[in-house]
């Protein structure tokens, strides 16, 4: 059985490996548009920062590893068409050679492409001018080229997690960095405003200028470099920068699949069932190009994250060889480290929960990560969202120091939400305790108690 996979990033690779693991006779071909299969896109900021000295180490697995596992990689070969009736994918190589490759099963893992906001001049300027999008290893090398050419200041458009990670990376490289965000806070899709303020303060403490509620209207070249024109509350402004990075989220890359007749769902992403099947016969899809089932919502959403792509890819690979597993659904769990702070979130925020028909209440609390008498204790700020009618835990956000185990604390809450747990449950979990690493009631349990104490039930 020949399985063709379009895309060599998290979802595609994981699908291929899983298919081979379950049925080692599967003939797996991966079409990879560039020369970088299985690269950790999430690791790009740490290469740019200099913390990861060699870009090659960003590969989750080497080409050799992948080939040993039985994946046949076709690098620099872009899929340009799918013929569902003929069961072929037509491709063009970097050298311009065209061919068609037949499949029995097909997995589409084309990922996402960066959003391009309506900024005047953006279409006319490119990497050679110092204006960058950031999504591929090619984009990454273009950014480092601008840096090597002597860029000393950067304007980052978008204060999502990639924007903020890149702000840190470019500060580490010694640049003056300004982050411009159209909405009223940093990490607008992750955190409540009160918690976002902690992250904004950390950015400023580390020399990053942050302009929220500010739109970029145009980008122009000038004698001094680039001029980024702004609008804030109707007032114009501008800033000069040698490098402009536009990181305002991504949208699913679905053209190929849609042209072949695939249906789309939320946000234009490919519609798939929980087995990652599209509406096309023997065609599956996974990762940033598909909509995402959510455990707390009755309808799909869009969660373009590496952790999600891996899980969906694993299911797609299993489905493609005849398995019956299903994707369990996302909670939108995420974590980002910004300088010395870590912000994490899982589940629904208050407004999202209300829009989904829940009756949420969100309670704010703060606790130390471990017993305060032991050196190094730092405070964790927590928001816990629960349903006031059913008591169900709906979501949580945490911000704390990078030593405060924030990433795995949010995972405790994500695990409880996975099982449909209540806020009350959190308080009675048998969690681990030793004074240098926790408290008899962990910070997440103190937050749950605070939520309980705030309810009149």
């Amino acid at each position: 059985m020949r399985l063709v996979i379009i895309g060599g990033s998290d979802a595609g690779i994981t699908a291929g490996l899983r298919a081979r693991q379950l049925d080692p006779t599967t003939d797996v071909h991966l079409l990879v548009a560039d020369h970088y299969p299985n690269f950790s896109i999430c690791g790009i900021p740490y290469y740019v920062s200099g913390e990861v000295p060699d870009w090659r180490s960003l590969a989750h697995r080497t080409r050799n590893d992948l080939e040993k596992a039985g994946l046949q990689l076709h690098l620099d070969e872009r899929a340009v068409g799918i013929d569902v009736d003929a069961r072929t994918v037509s491709t063009v190589s970097a050298a311009g050679e065209a061919r068609a490759i037949g499949y029995d099963r097909l997995i589409i893992a084309t990922g996402a492409v960066p959003n391009k906001p309506p900024i005047a001049g953006l279409d006319q300027l490119g990497a050679g001018d110092g204006v960058h999008l950031l999504h591929t290893m090619g984009d990454t090398f273009a950014v480092t080229k601008t840096l090597e050419e002597g860029a000393r200041s950067a304007a980052i458009v978008g204060a999502g997690y990639i924007g903020l990670e890149m702000a840190e990376a470019l500060r580490n490289r010694g640049l003056d960095v300004t982050v411009v965000e159209q909405l009223g806070q940093v990490l607008p899709r992750t955190l409540d405003p009160q918690l976002a303020t902690l992250i904004e303060t950390e950015l400023v403490r580390n020399g990053v200028s942050v302009f929220c509620d500010t739109a970029v209207t145009s980008i122009e070249t000038s004698d001094a470099g680039l001029e980024v024109n702004l609008s804030r509350g109707g007032q114009p402004g501008s800033l000069a920068a040698d490098l402009v990075l536009v990181v305002t989220g991504v949208r699913p890359d679905t053209r190929l699949a849609v042209d072949a007749g695939a249906k789309t769902g939320f946000g234009g992403a490919l519609a798939v069932d929980t087995g990652m099947r599209t509406n096309l016969p023997d065609v599956y899809a996974a990762g940033d190009c598909v909509h995402t089932h959510h455990r707390l919502l009755d309808y799909p959403t869009y969660v373009p994250l590496g952790s999600t792509a891996h899980k969906q890819g694993r299911v797609a690979g299993e489905s493609a060889v005849g398995g019956s597993t299903t994707y369990a659904g996302s909670l939108g769990t995420q974590v980002v480290r910004i300088f010395d702070l870590v912000a994490a979130a899982t589940g629904l925020r208050d407004r999202e929960a209300a829009a989904a028909g829940y009756h949420p209440a969100t309670v704010v609390s703060a606790s130390y990560d471990h017993k305060i008498y032991y050196p190094g204790a730092t405070p964790i700020a927590l928001h816990v969202t629960g349903d006031t009618v059913t008591g169900r835990l709906l979501g949580a956000q945490l911000v704390g120091h990078s030593s405060a185990q924030i990433a795995k604390r949010v995972d405790i809450l994500a695990t409880a939400i996975h099982y449909g747990g209540s806020v009350d449950d959190i308080g009675i979990l048998d969690l681990s305790y030793t004074p240098p690493l926790g408290s008899p009631y962990d910070a997440v349990q103190i937050a749950a108690h605070a939520w309980q104490d705030n309810q009149v039930r």
Copy 2:
């Protein structure tokens, strides 16, 4: 309503605070045998080590905090008898004054006392000779007195978590330290032997001598200090030490309650229902003096841990004011940091699971705490135990670096076990990911996949 609580440590204090929170009219009296209410016994090693400079900061809450919360503290007043019919507790103060205090409801939170193993000479020697048990603040001050008198070497009898934490503490104080353990490994009640070896290596790397499979037969005074006589495989031996610390576990302190007619359960601990009620009318009990309900066992066990005592105390306090909550049960979750390593465990070990009627299999794996390309990645060794018939997750053990979020990673697994989750579930949880703090599949998920891959089902 007058609520009398015997015991001023975790369970007693938590019970009193919860009772007052739920019914502020409750007249709460706490009988505290010493002068140190609400002290963090788990913090003693960090005071001895010097990391916590002032012993006063070991108090979870100050006396003032407790009194503000409405607890009436009777310090240095030891309960010596309970008259269930008359509903009185008779006490003796440090000054020798006797009285009886009436109660409507009584909570027994007398805790535990250190085991005294059958070592010749142990009964004749005491703190003045440099031979110590370690359970109270009084014991702590006796140890620090021996240190201040110039002790330069220590023998620690027992390689449980307190023994190992004290080994680290005394090394920090510059002593030569030897740990002697009768069983074949360190942390015998927490870890499988393979993982215990990692901890033993860390101890040795930090200059601690470790003798396992070695019994202490007698302790004698000599001109040079103390002589600890050993037996290993029938071969005699001895070591000289200025300080001997005997930390071979604890047993429930139940004399008062038993004399009043209370029934005992597992290991001689007080038998209580899940509402923390004893068999005596209006008498509750919680903490290290009671047996512990376990979520994976059909019968109670004994888990003398601060985290457990807090939760049981909270339930006892609620029951005492008429509430109907129940103790959810323990999983025996624990964590200990030994120098730069952290060991954690939850649920049942393979042998325990088999003894309880499960069909366990335990699979060993190792994963990095975060993406290896990002600096500072360290390996985590994991044992996952699951039921081969039902797929249920039964337990897990983790050992890793102190930066590796081990404490909260074990909590993810404890949370899944709380809900009766399967090993398969772990792999599909939506856990957080960013390269400096995790992987797209977290270490606990890779361990779950390893377990799945090892099963023929």
